[in-house]
Amino acid sequence: MEKYAGSTSYEFQKEKNKQDMKFQLVTFACMIVFTLISFGLVIAEFNPMFTIPIILLLACVQVGFQLYYFMHMSHKGHSLPSVFLYSGIFVAFITILAMVTIVWW
């Protein structure tokens, strides 16, 4: 395993990991800000028709951050994981739609 020690590829990877970590810290800061905005909107008691879509949108963006940066889905070699997850989200969407519409009508 000595082939990896001190090689340029090792130094390169280490630097790259560091860059990734910086991105992830920025991601974390964004997630905290989104959470604060969501709670703030609800506490400020704006019109529900305004608040609900926005907090849902913020939640979706936050989950996207979590998936693509924290869970590394933006990295190479994640095409099959994306297929799995998006199939899950597709079925999830239909499930929620079906259950909610049964009650509404």
């Binding site: 974390f28 907090i55 989950v63 997850l85 899950g88 999830a92």
Partner: protein, 209 residues
């Protein structure tokens, strides 16, 4: 597993992405994402049920009367932070720094435990003071099933990470256990993903009405 896989690795001694360096690691990685796709559907059915039943509270308190935002806010911050600490753990794993990885995993477990105790406290208050139980109304059943299933995932995640840490404490990092740590951290992030929707859909939307 081969002797090669069990050889303890120090910084600069292993391939980058140790979690996918072996066939077993690659398979674990793919299989786990497949499982997460299934988990998405499981939680969707619970969310759907909750959304359909959240206003069927009989004589019990409504969502607006029941929920307080302070506790939920603290729980959200704790879980978000624990997600970041497990990112740190995986950062150190990729650099083959076993000790630092263990420290960050330990912090993750502690944060998870504090989240869990706050959730237990929350449920206790609902049951003892607000008369909001699993059997009190359809809203109660849907609420405890959804939030409770998430809590059960937190318990499982804590047991999983803790046992990985104990089992591999003296082994150090190698190509056999790196995928195990990686997959456990993916699971922990997924728990956080579900919580983001829980605090938005259940608590915030419940408060708005």
């Amino acid at each position: 597993m081969s002797a090669e896989e069990l050889k303890q690795l120090k910084p600069g001694q292993g391939p980058h992405e140790p979690e996918k360096a072996t066939l077993e690691g690659k398979n674990k990685f793919l299989g786990f994402w497949f499982f997460l796709g299934g988990e998405t559907v499981l939680f969707a059915s619970l969310f759907g049920t909750y959304l359909a039943l959240k206003n069927s509270n009989l004589d019990g308190p409504s969502t607006q009367e029941l929920f307080g935002l302070e506790l939920v806010f603290i729980m959200t911050m704790i879980l978000l932070t624990s997600s970041l600490t497990s990112v740190y753990a995986m950062y150190h794993m990729k650099n083959y720094d076993f000790k630092k990885m263990m420290i960050w995993l330990g912090i993750t477990v502690l944060l998870g435990l504090s989240f869990l105790s706050l959730e237990v406290y929350e449920f206790y208050e609902y049951v003892m003071h607000d008369g909001h139980t699993f059997t009190s109304s359809a809203f109660g059943s849907a609420f405890y099933t959804l939030v409770g299933t998430h809590g059960a995932h937190v318990i499982f995640g804590l047991c999983w990470i803790t046992s990985l840490m104990i089992r591999n404490a003296k082994r150090g990092l190698n190509l056999y256990n790196a995928p195990k740590f990686y997959v456990a951290s993916l699971y922990w992030h997924f728990i956080d993903v579900v919580w983001v929707f829980i605090f938005t859909v259940v608590y915030l939307m419940g408060k708005v009405g």
